[in-house]
Symmetry: C2
Amino acid sequence: MATDRDTVLEAAVGVLSRRPTAHMDEIARAAGISRATLHRLFPGRDALIREVGLLGLQRFAAALDTADTGAGDAEAALRRLVDASVPDAMLCAFLAGENQLYEHDDINDLWEVQIARLHALFLRGQQEGVFRIELSAAWLSEAFFDLVAGIGWSIQDGRLAPREAAFSLAELFLGGALRRPDARTPHPPAHSTPDRKPETDTP
Amino acid sequence: MATDRDTVLEAAVGVLSRRPTAHMDEIARAAGISRATLHRLFPGRDALIREVGLLGLQRFAAALDTADTGAGDAEAALRRLVDASVPDAMLCAFLAGENQLYEHDDINDLWEVQIARLHALFLRGQQEGVFRIELSAAWLSEAFFDLVAGIGWSIQDGRLAPREAAFSLAELFLGGALRRPDARTPHPPAHSTPDRKPETDTP
DNA sequence: CAATTCTGAGACATGACTGTCTCATTTGGC
DNA sequence: GCCAAATGAGACAGTCATGTCTCAGAATTG
């Protein structure tokens, strides 16, 4: 029985991350409360969805703060970000699946701020020679967030043990994102070779 | 103006992959036809969604067929799968975001068959020493599909050039999934070290 | 123990989307 | 140019979820 707003939000995430179109009935039952009480806590469905999205973005922003992505080695910063964001992976899964949120301008702005922070981290890592420059920072940002969401879905469905989550995410993503100090790309790309030039953001 | 069923389905994917709750009106407008004609082509919304999902699964199954994932080097097989599945990345994005599909048993079965084929490819690669065994084949399967979906979203939103898609996916994913022939893991995992034992499926 | 507050269950009206229909218009074939 | 088929626009009822209300019962507080 969860009468707290935050507790209800947590329960709502559990339902909405898998079924974004869940009715108020389902959300209320998932939280162990009645539909009436749910409406007493949140003005309506829109407000509830919006608050869940806001919670997710705030948690992800807090993870970026905790990881202190602007300091030190870019690889170490990303590892800190992995550890900080995996506990809220389910919220990220909700954010990835709920594209209806982007109708609200404030949510959209907050989202873009966090993506910009991710982008900046990858750009810095590329300029420092830590991350590969053949992959655009935008793609690295997108892929990282998608994998965090994938972690959330996998854990929720019982396909991934929570203890393995951070390790699995860090090893898979960093393996593909880090420049190899010794070995070059295992095979030269046979398809289209994007001759990407190292980007700069601070002119 | 798209009067063909397949053309309408393609247009529907474009809308539904981003807004899974789009109304019939929006889908019809996206296809350039009226709501009446849309209803003449498909019995109802459920049938339309179901056919889009079926199309996505059939395309992904066809990609697995084309790639011939059971033959030859596992890495080469995965590279073939990347090339074969990237053109249908938007459909995979739809599949990843539309969890409501899994109420239909036939769709669910077809889905699990394809995931099993992916899983088998990664398991084989692990047994042949091509893919890392510290990451479970289940996680590799999930991550691969999530990244294909991410490719689809990125292309649709104009954040990734279609020409770079296959390269970006293959390099990022294979970099994290392949065993490094010479260099070991850049940093020994400081967090929890899952002492995974190499799995077997054919006893 | 009594009073207050909060919750759950249900009823109710509202609104939105869906599915079906009709009819005028257009398209395409002959 | 005529006829047939198909399309678009709109109207219509049905359905479902939402949001609000009331009331009885439970929990908490004094």
